[in-house]
Symmetry: D2
């Protein structure tokens, strides 16, 4: 089978390195180009990247020359973006305008009204927004985003409950791993024997992205929502859930742990789901990635563990290839209805794995058919 | 001045070692006896204790012979208890019956209806319950408890708000230090690069002790409350606050950090205190220990920090001699009214420091006058 | 092919768990029995073991009932021993007497004159000592040991140099991981923000086992060495190398790092190998496991890395399936001749992996042929 | 008493912050000026410094405006330098030329032939080199250096042995704390669950500085040594000791631990000191700081601990105000004569404390008398 050539932007960073490992032997995609910042351009990737992962860089990629993150220089029809926040906004639009499909882990466009912010098991129908972008950019290109690393796992953990029972309020406290801050990221003196109860911008991302993930795609039924994008009638109606987040950094390498309290819709106690109902919802949750058997899809996107002291970061972050959200300790909450713990791998399902899974969804849905061909770059 | 001779039960453990350092040069108390478990009895304290603190054991105490935790063998009129949970219940009663005043850090009697569970700045009036015990035990002895290490800082942080504005709901997530589990406590393999989202019994302690701390002492006004102790008309009416806790262990040495969301009494937004009101409440909070100038009292029991990323465990746990609760990051909460972060030293104000401060309060209130003398053991 | 049924003694501990994962899908061996201490006996393995590894226990094994470590109850002809030191000595002999071949990770018999202490790449010829045991025990059974976790990597790293150039003096400082102390092992309060410069008995093991590994098998050529075992003429002549070890515990999960200074035989500078010679020795070193293509054999038993700051614990411990010794930073030493750094995974090649590789060597050498059949227990 | 006004260069960094805490209430010195890099200049110190220490910045200093590190702008007669390596060389000379006495923690001038590299207990007589500099700079100013943080503790630990018995060879492996790399320094992802066996330039500093510390001041006795500085007859003859160092970074906050093997002068075993002799040398070692009772001097510069597992980083680094070298585990070495462990606080006696103690020595020796007065800046 011909593979689709892909480029990685921001290839030398932590998320870029995860892209490398996830795409090095991918059945549908082939890494054709690696791009990074000026001080890496022209170097061999093996020399440019300060490699952080406990396995070797594939030799073919180590020898690849790093390109600038320039849409004129990077030609692949499908682009994975791990660009830094300050330049991602403008650059990703430039790539979309030249016809590339950009599957992005960067934050600037996540909350744009016409950008699908997607977890394939949760809201694949939001992909329809891509059409709005195509019109705007007058090209075959568009941007699709995954969420913040803490938010993806929260939204994936909440989705089975919201879809089945309806959620009204969510209070979450995160204990986030160091890799979430990139490299060099957190100084060791700031975190050894410490917890830092502040991560710039994180709480806002959790509170806003979650309701977009759990929101509804609306057409032009006269809803007049302010989210409507200018050149289309499609829009996302945010879920009506009040979310409050406390975000903290702790001294773990990978894996964000979150304590979550939730309140369901419906006033009467009689309407509340039982603990058994809730666990069943976690156990039974499946989505399109499982149905389509996407290469990176976990067998179970949400895994509920029965032990009294799980999930734990070191024991559970790698479950289901790091692509699942692991939940445990469901119990009644004195303030809201129920409380539980959830955990997920922040650079796999929480970042690079999410970006790749989004691209796999595009592929399986036929949304990459023309672009790849029109660009005339299918790898033999 | 003659000092009151005191004994330390459970002297070799982590909390016992903190007692040693807090009492070694105390202006009112003098360590007269050290007691511990059978495998330490008869040894010199310096040989029996696996010393964990970064300063030397005072030589006089290192040479002291360890006694059994037996009320017939330990004679001091004032006893500090760091006894293990499984034996503290029975032994502390035995000490009270032989006339000792027991200031305890152990948990078994904390929720007893006739045992004062006291934070001197918060509820010193609860000490009145001691009279009930004296009658019951037909002795001059009684037990006074401090709370759980997480609870003390939560209650101390909430007290200024509850006293001034009235609280209705509290949702708290703790990130607790290793020393809270004693020694050897948590295995290193269980916590390096990990968070454990479970601490046996902890959440229940936080949820129940807090409402006792913030409760009201009631006399015999016909309230018929079930808390009424059998031989007295005094009782504690628990505060009417719904509290829900998520407790986690993280890889810090000392210092429990807690994220807290609170809802105030009163339905209307008009009645809610402003952020400025709340910070003023923290800033201005003082209590009896400050008024009486108790030796171990912090100047400010609650310290509000204005930086965006404080309190932090390593930077703030030792503030005010480890005897204050440090608060920061006050902001509005989407689910309850406000949210903030609080931090406190778990083995100082959260354990040994609390036990000693309670005893200082007894002393300054004249509640040790007779006991010490009648026991005829004032040290010259 | 029929697989040989094997038993694991000490199956619930850290090394036992590694045995499980290494043997669960082994091409030659099949786990038939799991044995552990009294408080696990009769339980299902999944309930008895506090599982420490970041992947699930295979379901078949989780359901297996734990047996006592009793040679009458455990019937497998090949036994992997991760028994605790205090009981391994006697029990392993009992197993050998009833005809079992015991591949042991325990220390008591390592220095016995008639017990082969083997690293398959280094001294496979020492296996000949097994015959001496068979005579002594009047059975087909015998014990074969791997070394201490620090020693194996030191000996494997020194072997290419000693075989090619001859070594005279070795000075080594280890920085050892927490898993080397088992579970619960090191208390977290003893190692967070700390280094412990003492590991009981470790330095002696490094200094003595290394010269046995690098020693020569001698027959009855009238050497009269005191190592001669009572019922045979075979003996190991220890290598004439002076070794001095400093052993330290640091806060890493897995992977022992060692700084090593060495002096070669021969007085003249002219005779010393060059740095290039030494690196070539590391690069080119191969042994029987590579020749026989043993399932667990690394492609390269010693891997020399050229980077200025490698090997590093987190980056290199898992290289070659955790079965290699990784070396780097070769440079001249002002006191001895050369110095370098070496690293190895302590519970894989340093423990369970070594025990399994030893058994694979026995199998490939035909030393398991009769035992398995005579016991009539070949699994279908 | 009038205090001498002092300036701190590089005041915002980790070592600068230690200067602040050591000098804030100094009996002889008063902080008059704080200087730092361009992005701090003009700010209040409290805003410019990212404060790392667990106690507050003194308010007077927090309000002080940061100056540029310019000898024309910084007027104090005594200057403490924590300047970055790349600019310290030139700037310190400029300060000396304008008449300032520079007590420096920076490395560029440490090995200069006319710069005293001093540990007050070890080689105070090297201060005589200052005269050579005064001539060269035609000013009252000069530079005096303390050593590298690892080297100071090694040299202080070796000094009692070298002075009493004579040393010939030293092999040392360090396990160094994170604060030694400054702030932000080591990235947390590089050190959590890791050891890095490489610190740029460190091994060379240990090997060269140590022999200067332990060297002899020589006059013009016709020795013709190449160390002789151009404008003077004074020179340091390096100690004739072969030193080899392996330097590693581990995940501790403060405190460098070193394993050390030593060989003494003299060929015959009869001449070797006994273990008792060596421990007596550590116990009895005292120097000028103790004799002069310098404010920051430890009571005992070298402390030998008898426990089998000490010194430990967390337990011993703060002994003697962090100004001593703690030694333990003396035992025979199979390769050299003896081996032991030593530990010291790297930012106190290993950096800022050393710089301040050097200045205290100058003061007590009368070497600050004229400079301070001539500069007309004695603080009232």
């Amino acid at each position: 089978m011909n593979k689709i050539p892909v480029a990685i932007l921001g290839a030398t960073g932590l998320v870029g390195q995860r892209f490398i490992t996830l795409l090095a032997n991918h059945p549908w995609f082939e890494i054709a180009e690696l791009a990074a910042s000026d001080n890496s351009v022209g170097k061999k990737y093996g020399d440019a990247a300060k490699w952080q992962l406990p396995f070797e860089i594939p030799e073919r990629l180590a020898q690849m020359t790093v390109l600038p993150s320039d849409p004129e220089r990077v030609q692949a029809p499908l682009v994975f973006s791990a660009l830094p926040t300050d330049i991602a906004g403008e650059l990703e639009v430039a790539f979309a305008k030249r016809g590339a499909i950009v599957s992005s882990n960067a934050s600037p466009h996540r909350m744009d009204a016409d950008v699908p912010l997607v977890i394939p098991e949760v809201n694949p129908e939001h992909l329809a927004l891509a059409e709005t972008q195509k019109k705007k950019y007058a090209s075959d290109g568009y941007i699709i985003c995954n969420g913040n690393c803490t938010t993806i796992h929260l939204a994936l953990g909440l989705a089975p409950l919201h879809k089945r029972f309806g959620l009204k309020k969510v209070l979450v406290t995160s204990m986030q791993a160091l890799s979430g801050a990139g490299y060099p990221g957190v100084a060791s003196l700031d975190i050894i024997d410490n917890v830092v109860p502040y991560i710039g911008g994180e709480e806002d991302k959790v509170e806003t992205e979650t309701v977009k993930f759990l929101g509804r795609l609306k057409g032009n039924e006269g809803n007049g929502g302010s989210l409507r994008s200018p050149v289309s009638d499609l829009a996302i109606e945010y879920a009506d859930i009040r979310i409050s987040a406390h975000c903290n950094r702790v001294a773990t390498r990978d894996g964000h742990l979150e304590t979550v309290s939730v309140e369901f819709e419906g006033n009467g106690v009689a309407n509340k789901p039982s603990a058994g109902d809730i666990i069943a919802a976690f156990d039974e949750f499946r989505g399109l990635p499982q149905e389509l058997n996407l290469p990176l899809a976990p067998n179970r996107p949400t895994v509920y563990r029965r032990e009294k002291d799980r999930p734990q970061v070191k024991l559970d972050r790698d479950a289901e290839k790091g692509m699942a959200t692991i939940i445990g300790r469901l119990r009644e909450c004195n303030v809201l209805d129920y409380k539980f713990v959830l955990l997920g791998h922040n650079t796999l399902r929480g970042a690079a794995g999410a970006t790749v899974l989004n691209a796999e969804l595009l592929y399986a849905q036929g949304m990459l058919n023309n672009v790849g061909l029109s660009a005339g770059r299918i790898v033999g």
